[in-house]
Amino acid sequence: MKYALLICTPVGGAELSPAEIADDPRFTSYIEEVRSRDLVKGGARLRPASDATTVRVQGDEVLLTDGPFIESKEYIAGIDIVEVADLDEAISLASRHPAALGGGSVEVRPVWE
């Protein structure tokens, strides 16, 4: 089954660049594992929520908001699409994601296929 792991980070937490993450030992073992097992089928690392623009349409009018669509304690910092056997395996992967260890959380969502 395919799952999207929504990587959530606390607002105000450290913003690591992709280069910094690549050098961070907490991430390297995780990245190594998912690569060697070819579990990740897609995804993206997102720039901080402060760089977001939210688009709404009311009638003919396009409304823009600076920032994410909802003010919250956490924001989505990245999305991994993984392919694993079942929810238990997806949970096991999510529970080893450095974001889940470091005060953030990972929302596991089955992909509509």
Partner: protein
């Protein structure tokens, strides 16, 4: 035995097994339930005519399976499932990673999967394992039938859509998942046990259903002393069920219960199971709670209760379950074993921490210890505080009675 009695007995013994096997065979929870129901309906007809088969469970499973194949044959989309169903007429079952191979155990672990909301776990367990109807479960949990029906639909949908596996978890996940399963069974029992008034038979019957489930679990997990400990605990509690309220529905404390009216056969069975569990040398919270319950049931009179033993057992329990509620229970036991001052000191500690500030049993415990030490004025104040917080009617009446006693002395 008449055919009706045989079907009723088979329903209690075999419902869970039939549904569990059908879920594995078809992968479809609704179809499994539907076919199981159909098989039991057919059994009534056929057993009346042809007599009760030698192995009712096997008869029911085969009949339900045939029914499932009929249904799937009619649905084009069922083609793949049908192949599987046809293959599974062979008796052997696939082994799990954990080496366990009973379908009911798979079903128990799936119903109690931690990715499901606790309410969903409880409802699914009663529906698919114990065979309670949706209206019965709704009544047991005091929610409208439509709400319960929706809860069951949503839970089955999540199992399917989120890919919750139908299996006993692999060895590395087994300990924590087992704790979750035991927790659901314990919660279910408490729900039935709390319905002490006797007015609501469905809620009271829940205890019997849950004990049956606990028996199945203990049998299916022979290497898990906590499963045995839980069964022992439930039996020891249930043995006292008739004496917990008087004829007027008023709560009777353990101290004042008529011990001759306890179900001693049930208590003895619980105590014997506990012995077996403890011999494994792997104690856990359910075994310890069962040991505490056994201290009560084996005491000939309330005065003979070995409170020092109970206080020590609570000390052990706090190590496994360091919750404020367990510590409050320990305070009661210490108060009885070492004197009310020692108990009050532990209560004061909990009051300072504030975690139980909205919980009526905190002032009620303080009140009881004060009452025992003869400080009735202070006790009355504490009872008043407990009455502000209490929600259950039977408990309210009990506290009011105690308050009256304190004021009149």
């Amino acid at each position: 035995m008449t055919a009706e009695e045989a079907v009723a007995a088979a329903f209690q013994e075999e419902w869970g097994q039939v549904v569990a096997t059908l879920i594995r065979v078809t992968g479809d929870w609704d179809l499994a339930e539907e076919c199981a129901q159909d098989a039991f309906a057919q059994a009534l007809d056929r057993w009346r005519r042809d007599g009760v088969p030698r192995r009712p469970g096997a008869w029911l499973t085969t009949t339900a399976r045939h029914r499932a194949m009929d249904v799937l044959r009619r649905e084009a989309v069922g083609a793949r499932k049908l192949r599987e169903a046809a293959m599974l007429t062979a008796p052997e079952e696939p082994y799990d990673d954990s080496g366990v191979q009973d379908d009911r155990l798979r079903l128990i672990f799936t119903c109690c999967h931690p990715a499901l909301h606790i309410e969903a776990r409880v409802a699914l367990t009663l529906r698919t394992l114990a065979g309670l109807t949706t209206p019965e479960i709704a009544r047991a949990f005091l929610v409208p039938e439509a709400t319960m029906a929706q809860r069951l639909v949503r839970a089955k949908k999540k199992i399917r859509n989120a890919g919750i596996p139908y299996r006993v978890p692999p060895a590395h996940l087994l300990p924590e998942r087992t704790t979750g399963v035991l927790g659901v069974i314990y919660l279910l029992f408490n729900e039935g046990y709390a319905a002490a008034s006797g007015a609501d038979l469905v809620r009271r019957n829940l205890c019997a259903e849950v004990i049956r489930l606990a028996r199945v679990l203990a049998r299916l997990m022979p290497d898990e002393p906590e499963a045995l400990g839980l069964l022992a605990l439930l039996l020891l509690h249930d043995a006292r069920r008739e004496t917990r309220v008087d004829a007027d529905g008023e709560l009777v404390t353990l101290e004042d219960q008529d011990r001759t009216a306890w179900d001693h056969a049930e208590a003895d069975e619980g105590a014997a199971l506990l012995e077996t569990a403890l011999r494994r040398g792997r104690p856990g919270p359910y075994q310890i709670q069962a040991a505490i319950a056994a201290c009560h049931t084996t005491a000939a009179t309330a005065k003979d209760t070995d409170w020092a033993d109970i206080a020590a057992l609570y000390g052990e329990l706090v190590r496994f379950v360091p919750s404020a509620v367990v510590r409050l229970n320990r305070a009661v036991a210490v108060g009885m074993a070492e004197g009310t001052d020692a108990g009050l000191a532990l209560v004061a500690e909990l009051e300072r921490e504030g975690e139980l500030s909205g919980y009526h049993l905190l002032p009620a415990t303080r009140a009881d210890l004060l009452r025992r030490s003869g400080r009735t004025t202070e006790a009355a104040q504490a009872y008043e505080r407990a009455l502000e917080l209490v929600e259950n009617d039977a408990e309210r009446h009990f506290l009011e009675k105690r308050l009256g006693e304190c004021r009149s002395t």
